[in-house]
Symmetry: C2
Subunit: 363 residues, 2 copies
């Protein structure tokens, strides 16, 4: 049973320690006296033509950019160096981002604009940093299953906590890994965004899932999972309770969907045995990604969870792991077709990708 | 009046020369005897969960990747070196891509799959390369207005020609510039994709434009243009017939929409005087982008045209120019929020971007 202890940083931001066992003292105070209060200028602006929100967050231009290892803000505070985590050690730590794209305080500082055709609202929400381990080097895939399980419990906790707030419409847990993805801190960590709206990709999926259920009485994700298992050639790995496969219409050179056999809306609804099984499966998939090339694979791993307040019965949880590397030394860039027209062109067939991830074909 | 001459390459692909004046001999034959026939494996696969098409094009993995300058396939054929363009010189040349993501021949080689929930179709369509100049170095912004005008005429010609084919639903003219965008050939060139479906971004805009017109009787793009002109602070440049502005909800650090005052659906409907004016305006905007940083700005420039067969009355033409560079040496990467959730977070406010593009603020 993962233990949870909450404290506050010197500027008032929340910090939560997650430990595999209770009874560890995590009360070390944040001794920084010169920490300026965080503030946000975030606005959510509406584009009426393309029917989408954009977040304008110009205070983020000055965020921490590739600090040297001895100034890593995600390491524990040791030897007089005060970091974002006051304790001298930790297992998993989650804290509010100092340069947030969304903040529940934004309403106090950011005006509302409603002069047609222009509409914007304060960037309400929450951005959290999830430190997967106190070890500065390494990666998620080098965690033990027990460590991975503590991260899963932290994600589930944050999903439930943030999702219970009325202004947060969607809780998005994700990890960006690798300089090629734009990661500026190498310490193994992920992020959680509590969006004030349902992101367009998940809004689409919620709509299609609802329509599918209304039409057929069935869950589309369940149907896809059964079809992939029957066809077999895009399956990457299976366990008692989870299946990892490359989707039929994968957008990225290597893309894997990790889906529970049980129809559950989000991580907070995943039971104890399923979480233990997931820890093994998730590590297995990340290690397969790292085995693709001679150098660590840049990836984005994220959880497609049900929206916090809507569509919860229709939704079926999944993780998506993708890399932008299409071959050694070559990246899939998002150029005109993807960035300007939103049409993905994938140079690696999903069947080939699955075979390589299964280790069958190293050509 | 731009002159147009059509020929065929050794493997049967179409090549079209566009010249500012008629009477230039462009009949030099393609002397390559060892050119293998192009073939495509492109499939358009449907993702029923996210309600979108993905193009699987695994034959493209072997495409030409950063050749040395003396092997540039886009230079004219000279000194015994046979390139994609047989003539010893040219002004603007357009030819079918040798590694196409879409091909009108795909129906002959690619099967149709319709086993629910899996659906895929051959990648019908057309991919063309547009060489802006025979000069290997330089960029679009270093063209003369007359050269730029010939490119505009070529785009208009291709829009009309490709758009008249029943299997092409959308003609997309674009330029990717810079290694950071993934460009593998440095010779100044752009591309044209004739998609067999309307790209999701433009499908959205077509739907919102139609609904807006049904509700108000007005054109949303016209309304946005008037509002931007009235507000003024996001205007970058104006001419007699065109306006360049940073959209209120811009997704990219620097993003400009170039819109004609006249309500026209696509480039083929733009009149002679508007085209001359556009050549100046387009060059002006590209030069402003190149003035942002000390090194050439990586950009994507694209034309948002009406779908070929639908929504033509609702649509109002625009160009979009964007860069992924957010500061000297720093790129806007598409990480978890953008790539996995489709939520763009922009660190540069549109008002700041417009001021910098106007040259008002060099900080």
């Amino acid at each position: 049973m993962t233990s949870r202890q909450t404290t506050r940083l010197a500027d008032g931001r929340e910090l939560i320690y997650f430990d595999a066992a209770p009874g560890i003292d995590r009360t070390t105070p944040d001794r920084r006296t010169d920490l300026p209060a965080t503030s946000t200028t975030s606005q959510v602006r509406w584009d009426p033509l393309f029917h989408t929100h954009t977040v304008i967050a110009d205070h983020r231009q000055t965020r921490t950019y590739r600090p040297p290892a001895d100034l890593c803000p995600l390491c524990p505070s040791r030897n007089g160096m005060q970091t974002e985590i006051p304790a001298p050690d930790y297992e998993v730590a989650v804290f509010e981002n100092r340069f947030p794209a969304f903040s529940l305080q934004a309403a106090e500082t950011v005006p509302i604009v409603t002069e047609a055709p222009f509409r914007s609202a304060p960037g309400l929400g929450r951005c959290e940093v999830v430190c997967f381990t106190s070890e500065h080097t390494g990666s998620f895939s080098s965690l033990t299953p027990r460590q991975a399980r503590t991260v899963i419990d932290a994600w589930a906790d944050r999903t439930q906590d943030l999702g219970s707030r009325p202004s947060i419409a969607y809780v998005f847990c994700f990890e960006n890994r690798g300089e090629e993805i734009g990661v500026t801190l190498t310490h193994p960590h992920g992020q959680i965004y509590g969006y004030p709206f349902i992101p367009p990709r998940f809004f689409n999926a919620a709509q299609t899932s609802r329509r599918y259920r209304q039409r057929t009485g069935d869950c589309l994700q369940c149907v896809l999972l059964r079809a992939e298992l029957a066809e077999g050639k895009r399956i990457v790995a299976t366990s008692e309770r989870w299946v990892a496969y490359v989707p039929f219409a994968a957008r990225w050179p290597y893309e894997v969907r990790i889906v529970p056999l049980a129809h559950v809306p989000d991580l907070s609804a995943v039971g104890d045995a399923e979480r233990a099984d997931l820890a093994d499966m998730y590590l297995d998939v990340l290690r397969r990604f790292d085995g693709l090339f001679d150098t660590p694979t840049p990836y984005i791993a994220s959880w497609q969870q049900a929206p916090s307040h809507d569509h919860r019965d229709d939704w079926h949880l999944a993780a998506e792991v993708l890399t932008i590397r299409r071959a050694p030394g070559k990246l899939k860039h998002l150029a005109g077709s993807e960035s300007a027209a939103a049409v993905w062109i994938n140079d690696v067939s999903p069947e080939t990708a699955a075979a390589r991830l299964r280790g069958e074909d190293s050509s």
